[in-house]
C-alpha cells in the first residue's frame, strides 16, 4: 500500500497502545520503514541541532558585544570575527543543510509509503556531513579559517575548511541521488500515478539546490581549494564572488523550501485543515527552481558587474514576490479551513481557534507571521536604490534573522517538537515550556531585528566589532545596540529552553503510546486536475538550466576575461 496524500484514509486507523517496555520498538506510520532506516536521519537531525546550539552561543556573544560586554576570552576564542565565522557556518550551512537532509528524506519515505531506495546512501550522507562539519569546525576553532561564512577571496582559509564545506554539500547531493533512485523505483510500480505532492516538493527542492550549489562547487573545487593548497597562485575576487552569490541567493530557497513543505503540507494537517491546492503548490516549488539565477542582487554595489546584469537579475528577483504571495494565500487559506472546522468565526478571529497550545503549531504560526516582515524588508534590499542605504549595514542581518533566523530556524524548532518523538519514540518533554519557548524566540527576534534594522539605516556596518570601532563616537547608535543586545539575549534564552525540551525528550523514559505520524494533510483541490506537465521534472530541470545559462551567461559575457590577480591573504 502507498500512503500518499491522494488517498487519505477516510477513517483514522486504530492506534495500537505501546507500553514503555516496548519503547525501543515504537511504531511509525510508514510501511516497511524500520528504525535502521530512520537512524541516519535521526543523527543528521542531531547534527543540525548541535550546530544550532553552537551558533546560538556565538549569537549570545555577539549580542553582548553590542552591550560592550566582551566574553571572547572567556570562551577561548581569538576574536569576535572567529566567533562570527562559527555562528554563520554553524547556522546557515550546517543547521539548515542537515535539517533539510533529514526532514525531506523522511518526507520522501512518507510520500511513497516506503523506505528510501538505499539505506547506504542515507548513511553516507550523514557521514559526509559529520566529517565535513568536523573538518570545518577544527579549521575555525584552530583560528585557521576566520573568513566568515561567505569566505570571500582573497581572504584565504586552510584547505580543511574548504574540504569540510565540500563534504557538507556532497551530503546534500547524496540525498538527491537517493530521492531520484527512490522515485524511479516507485515509478515502476505506479507508472500512471501522479508523483505524490510531498515527494514532488521534496525532490524539486533538492534538484533546485543541486543546480544552485554548482556555483559554490565550481568556486571551491576549481579556484579556492587548489589556491589554498598552493596549486594555483591567484584567483579573481570579483569572479569568485559571482560564483558565490550564484549559490548564495538560492541557498535561501534551500533553507526555506523544507519549511514550505511543512507549512504547505503538514501544518494544515496539524490544525485540522486541508492543503488548499495541489497544482499551485507544485507551481510554487517549480517557480523557485526557475528563479535560481538572481544572485547579482547581492552585488548591486560591486564595481565589476555591469548595469545590464544588475537590472536583469533585479527584475527576476522581484518575480520572487509572486510565488511568495501565492504561498501566503495558500497557507493562510489552509490554516483558515482548519480553524473554521474547529469552530473559528469572523474575518480574522478564526486565528484564535488555531491550536496555539501545540508548540509545533504555535512555533510555525509565529515563524510565518514574522516571515512577512522578512519578506517586506527583502523587497527593500532588492530595490536597486534603497539598497544603497542598507547594503552591508546591520539592516541585512536584521532582515535575515526574520527569514532564515526565524521563518526557518523557529520552524525547525517547532518541527523538532514532533520530529524528535517520531525519531526516538519518546514523548515530548515539558510541552508548556515548549510553547513558552517559541513565543520567547518570536519576541526576542522582533526586538533584535528592530534594533539591527534601525541601526543599519543609521549606518551601522554589519559584521563589525562595533564597540571597538574607531568611528563609533561619530554616530548615535546607542538605541540600536541596546535593542540588538536585549533581543539577542532573549533569543539565546529561547534557545536554552529549546535544548531543555530536546534533551528532556531524548533522555526521557516516557515512551510514546501511539503510532507516530507525519501530520500530512489531505488536499482540497487536486491532484487529479493538476496539469500533467508539472510532473515532468526532467523538462523543468532543463528549462531551469537554459535560464541559468542565459542569465549567468549574460553576466560572464560582459565580465570576461576572468582576472586572477589575488594571492591568498590571512588577516586575522
Amino acid at each position: 500500500m502507498t500512503a500518499t496524500i491522494e488517498t487519505p484514509s477516510p477513517t483514522p486507523e486504530p492506534e495500537p497502545v505501546v507500553t514503555p517496555a516496548q519503547a525501543r520498538t515504537w511504531q511509525i506510520d510508514i510501511p516497511g520503514v524500520t528504525q535502521a532506516d530512520l537512524s541516519p536521519l535521526k543523527w543528521q537531525l542531531y547534527l543540525a541541532l548541535l550546530a544550532f546550539g553552537i551558533g546560538a552561543l556565538m549569537g549570545l556573544l555577539q549580542a553582548l558585544e553590542r552591550a560592550n560586554i566582551n566574553l571572547y576570552d572567556e570562551v577561548r576564542l581569538q576574536s569576535y570575527y572567529q566567533g562570527l565565522t562559527l555562528h554563520g557556518v554553524a547556522m546557515v550551512l550546517v543547521f539548515t543543510f542537515c535539517f533539510a537532509n533529514s526532514f525531506l528524506s523522511l518526507m520522501t519515505m512518507k510520500a511513497y509509503g516506503r523506505p528510501l531506495k538505499s539505506r547506504l546512501i542515507s548513511q553516507a550522507s550523514t557521514w559526509s556531513a559529520t566529517i565535513g562539519v568536523a573538518l570545518a569546525l577544527w579549521a575555525i576553532l584552530a583560528n585557521k579559517a576566520t573568513v566568515l561564512f561567505t569566505f570571500y577571496a582573497p581572504l584565504q582559509a586552510t584547505p580543511a575548511f574548504y574540504v569540510g564545506a565540500v563534504l557538507l554539500v556532497i551530503s546534500t547531493w547524496l540525498v538527491l541521488v537517493n530521492m531520484i533512485w527512490t522515485l524511479a523505483d516507485w515509478r515502476k510500480d505506479h507508472p500512471k500515478d501522479r508523483i505524490p505532492l510531498l515527494a514532488y516538493a521534496s525532490i524539486i527542492s533538492y534538484i533546485m539546490w543541486f543546480l544552485a550549489s554548482l556555483g559554490i562547487a565550481v568556486e571551491v573545487l576549481f579556484y579556492l581549494l587548489p589556491w589554498s593548497l598552493g596549486w594555483r597562485d591567484q584567483v579573481d575576487p570579483q569572479f569568485t564572488r559571482v560564483l558565490f552569490w550564484f549559490t548564495g541567493h538560492p541557498i535561501v530557497y534551500f533553507w526555506l523550501m523544507p519549511i514550505y513543505v511543512s507549512w504547505y503540507m503538514l501544518l494544515p494537517g496539524q490544525v485540522g485543515g486541508k492543503i488548499f491546492s495541489d497544482g499551485l503548490t507544485r507551481i510554487v516549488f517549480v517557480a523557485f527552481m526557475l528563479l535560481i539565477p538572481v544572485g547579482a542582487h547581492h552585488q548591486f554595489t560591486d564595481p565589476g558587474i555591469p548595469f545590464s546584469s544588475k537590472s536583469l537579475q533585479w527584475l527576476l528577483t522581484f518575480a520572487i514576490f509572486y510565488p511568495s504571495v501565492v504561498t501566503l494565500f495558500s497557507v493562510v487559506a489552509s490554516l483558515e479551513s482548519g480553524a473554521r472546522a474547529r469552530g473559528g468565526k469572523g474575518l480574522i478571529a478564526w486565528i484564535g481557534k488555531l491550536p496555539w497550545g501545540d508548540p509545533a503549531v504555535a512555533g510555525q504560526l509565529l515563524a510565518g507571521i514574522i516571515f512577512m516582515g522578512g519578506g517586506a524588508s527583502g523587497l527593500v534590499n532588492a530595490s536597486l536604490t534603497a539598497n544603497l542605504v542598507v547594503h552591508n549595514t546591520s539592516f541585512i542581518p536584521g532582515h535575515f534573522h526574520l527569514t532564515v533566523g526565524t521563518a526557518v530556524a523557529l520552524s525547525i524548532m517547532a518541527i523538532s517538537y514532533w520530529l524528535i518523538p517520531y525519531f526516538t519514540g519518546k514523548r515530548l518533554y515539558n510541552r508548556p515550556l515548549a510553547v513558552v519557548q517559541v513565543w520567547t524566540w518570536a519576541i526576542g527576534v522582533s526586538i533584535f531585528s528592530r534594533g539591527q534594522m534601525a541601526g543599519g539605516i543609521e549606518g551601522v556596518p554589519r559584521r563589525t566589532l562595533i564597540q571597538e570601532a574607531t568611528y563609533k563616537d561619530n554616530f548615535n547608535w546607542a538605541l540600536s545596540h541596546a535593542l540588538t543586545a536585549i533581543g539577542g539575549t532573549i533569543m539565546f534564552i529561547a534557545a536554552v529552553m529549546f535544548f531543555v525540551v530536546v534533551f528532556g525528550t531524548i533522555f526521557s523514559n516516557r515512551a510514546v503510546t501511539t503510532v507516530q505520524k507525519v501530520p500530512l494533510a489531505p488536499i482540497i483541490n487536486g491532484p487529479r486536475d493538476t496539469w500533467a506537465i508539472m510532473d515532468r521534472i526532467g523538462m523543468w530541470t532543463l528549462i531551469t538550466i537554459v535560464g541559468i545559462v542565459i542569465v549567468l551567461g549574460e553576466l560572464i559575457f560582459h565580465y570576461w576575461p576572468i582576472w586572477p590577480v589575488s594571492p591568498g591573504i590571512q588577516l586575522w
Partner: protein, 157 residues
C-alpha cells in the same frame, strides 16, 4: 487545472502590485539620477601604488565645483584618511584595494560600494552643505576591520 476564484484574484492583484513597484523603482532611479557603481576599469593590486591616479591619492579639482578623490583601501585604513572638500561640490571617488575586499560606505549619503581587488570602484555624490561625514569599511577585511574609518570634511565654500 482548477484554481480557486479568490486565489486567482490575489494572483492578478500581485501582478499589478509588482508592476507598480517595478515602475516606481525605475522612476525613482531616473528622477533622482541615482546610479550604481559600474565597471570603471581593472588594475592589478600590486600595480596600484605605481599607477596613475592611485600613485598620488588625494583630492584634486577637475572643474568648477567638480572634484575627484582618489583613495586606496588597505588593511586597515583608507589612504588618505581625511579629505576636505568645499560645500556645493560634485565629487567622484575613485577607489581600489591593494589587498582584500573592503566596503566603501558614507552614512547619510548614497555612497555605498564594494572595493574589490582588481577592480576600480567609481561612485559620485553631491555635497551641498558643510558638515563632517565618516567613511567606514562595511565589509569584513580581517581582524582590524572595525578600525577602518576616515573623515570626509565638507568645508564652507
Amino acid at each position: 487545472m482548477h484554481v480557486d476564484k479568490r486565489e486567482k484574484r490575489v494572483m492578478q492583484i500581485t501582478v499589478v502590485v509588482l508592476g507598480v513597484a517595478i515602475g516606481a523603482l525605475v522612476l525613482s532611479m531616473t528622477a533622482s539620477h541615482k546610479s550604481l557603481p559600474e565597471p570603471a576599469g581593472r588594475i592589478r593590486p600590486e600595480d596600484v601604488r605605481v599607477t596613475a591616479p592611485f600613485d598620488n591619492p588625494g583630492v584634486r579639482q577637475v572643474g568648477e565645483n567638480e572634484y575627484e578623490v582618489v583613495m586606496i583601501a588597505q588593511a586597515w585604513e583608507w589612504v588618505p584618511n581625511r579629505v576636505e572638500i568645499p560645500a556645493g561640490s560634485h565629487v567622484t571617488f575613485k577607489v581600489t584595494s591593494v589587498d582584500v575586499i573592503h566596503g566603501f560606505r558614507v552614512p547619510d549619503t548614497d555612497l555605498n560600494a564594494m572595493v574589490i581587488p582588481g577592480q576600480i570602484t567609481e561612485v559620485d555624490v553631491d555635497f551641498d552643505e558643510a558638515r563632517d561625514f565618516t567613511l567606514l569599511c562595511h565589509e569584513y577585511c580581517g581582524i582590524g576591520h572595525h578600525r577602518m574609518g576616515a573623515d570626509i570634511v565638507i568645508v564652507e565654500n
